[in-house]
Amino acid sequence: MRIVVDRDRCTGLGMCEAEAPDLFEVQDDGTLKLLNDRPGAPDRESAESAVLACPTEALSLVED
């Protein structure tokens, strides 16, 4: 499973970081840093919550 950020849509609102602080961090300049773009099974639920919580629908999960 891989997390994909649509950089055109992301505005750094940080809801993903609130849902999954181990996976996402908004930077000083408002861009989003993926701390881990290939989370393991234990993080799947929080990754899915982050995708759903994004106000700009900038996140998706891709099964490789």
Binding site: L13, G14, P21, E25, V26, Q27, G30, L52, A53, P55
Partner: protein, 410 residues
């Protein structure tokens, strides 16, 4: 749960309720009753990107196509249809459909997510050039007026009004914002923070006038020409946007047995968003609920994140009341003014507020809010990396001392 699952209200909370119902494994009939003819759409862009100058058309704010809603979620869509009551005895919801015909829906469970409607100025409904901004149709009308280069006057320096002002200024139009209070946003963020936000207007050439009372509008040929103030002056205007708050849409529940709040008519729920009527839950802008994270403080929130979270929670709880979970969330909202982003987490009601950025001599604004010995709120302007860290501290009931230490003050 036996029977039909009905969601009343076709905005974000309603959409999330539908999604959560199916995700929870509910395979029975699922009906959405939406008062607008539009499919569920995203509101935050309406006062921001949607008002940006062309030439390209603004992005369609619709969340999902009709095919996706029908396909993925197998929803019985009743758009342009209003619920006109709720009969808890017979477990039916009377409806008035697109053509004004009266029908009925039986239900096993209901999520009420009818949201709120914008307050208007009295006797201005028929006047051209006067708008509120709540719906997609409102945004289309305001965008069209901005396209003609309208002299813009915004009544109310709240978040929606201020975003409209920002969008109009970005187009280079003359903008005046009229605010009744001496400082804007005092109730939502506090006085010192309200002043910091007001500074953004001044820095971008918006004429912000506080402590002024609107006494009426002037017009010619059915079209607005200005806004009259109590000091006897009139501000000329081609477009007037009224941003003076909203009221929950709950008139249709009068006499239903649902408890309506004495002050604003919002629905009074318990911490699981249950209304007290069997099977009936509420979510989003309509719902008052005690938040266990803040000692059971009653709140009604008008935020995107709250609508999203509560829509999901209300549906889950309605389907499985025996294991209902509380709406324990840290409120979060953001607002984009000019090139700045204001972010707020927590609750504004505080015993102490520390403007941390001032103490540290930092340019970018950040303040912390205390209740008891806990950090319970944070506001920042253009500090996106910090706000969610404070949100987490509030979520984890961290102490005031820890928050100050993290901020670098003590």
């Amino acid at each position: 749960m036996d029977g039909r699952f009905v969601v009343v209200g076709g905005s974000l909370a309603g959409l999330r309720a539908l999604q959560a119902a199916r995700k929870s494994g509910f395979a029975g009939p699922l009906t959405l009753v939406g008062g607008e003819i539009h499919l569920p759409y995203d509101r935050p862009p309406l006062s921001k990107e949607y008002l940006r100058a062309g030439p390209e058309e603004p992005e369609d704010p619709t969340y999902r196509t009709k095919e996706e809603l029908l396909g993925e979620l197998d929803v019985d869509l009743r758009l342009g249809t209003r619920a006109t009551g709720l009969d808890a005895q017979r477990r039916v919801i009377p409806l008035s459909d697109e053509g004004g015909r009266a029908t009925e829906l039986d239900y096993g469970a209901v999520v009420i997510a009818t949201g709120a409607k914008a307050r208007t100025l009295p006797d201005t409904e028929k006047l051209a050039g006067v708008h509120t901004l709540r719906t997609l149709d409102d945004a289309i009308a305001i965008r069209a007026a901005l396209d003609t280069g309208a002299r813009t006057v915004v009544v109310g320096a709240g978040f929606i009004g201020s975003e409209v002002a920002s969008s109009a200024r970005k187009r280079g139009l003359p903008v005046t914002v009229l605010e009744a209070l001496p400082v804007p946003l005092v109730r939502s963020v506090g006085e010192q923070m309200g002043r910091a936000c007001a500074e953004l207007h001044r820095a971008h050439g918006t004429d912000l006038r506080c402590g002024v009372k609107v006494t009426g509008l002037t017009s010619a040929d059915g079209k607005v020409t200005g806004v009259s103030l109590d000091d006897g002056t009139t501000v000329p205007a081609d477009l007037v946007v009224v941003g003076t708050g909203v009221a929950p849409c709950t008139e249709w529940l009068a006499g239903s047995g649902v408890t309506l709040h004495e002050r604003d008519g919002g629905i009074v729920c318990d911490e699981t968003l249950y209304t007290g009527l069997p099977g009936v839950y509420a979510a989003g802008d309509v719902a008052h609920f005690p938040n266990p994270l803040f000692g059971g403080l009653m709140m009604r929130l008008e935020h995107w994140t709250n609508a999203a979270e509560q829509g999901l929670l209300a549906a889950r709880n309605a389907l499985n009341p025996a294991e209902a979970k509380p709406a324990a969330s840290v409120p979060y909202f953001w607002s984009d003014w000019y090139d700045s982003r204001i972010q707020f987490v927590g609750v504004p009601q505080a015993e102490e507020i520390r403007v941390v950025s001032e103490e540290l001599g930092e340019e970018k604004f950040l303040a912390l809010y205390r209740r008891g010995d806990r950090v319970t709120g944070c506001i920042s302007i253009d500090r996106p990396t910090q706000i969610m860290k404070y949100r987490r501290m509030i979520m984890q009931s961290k102490s005031w001392a820890e928050a100050l230490e993290f901020a670098g003050v003590s």
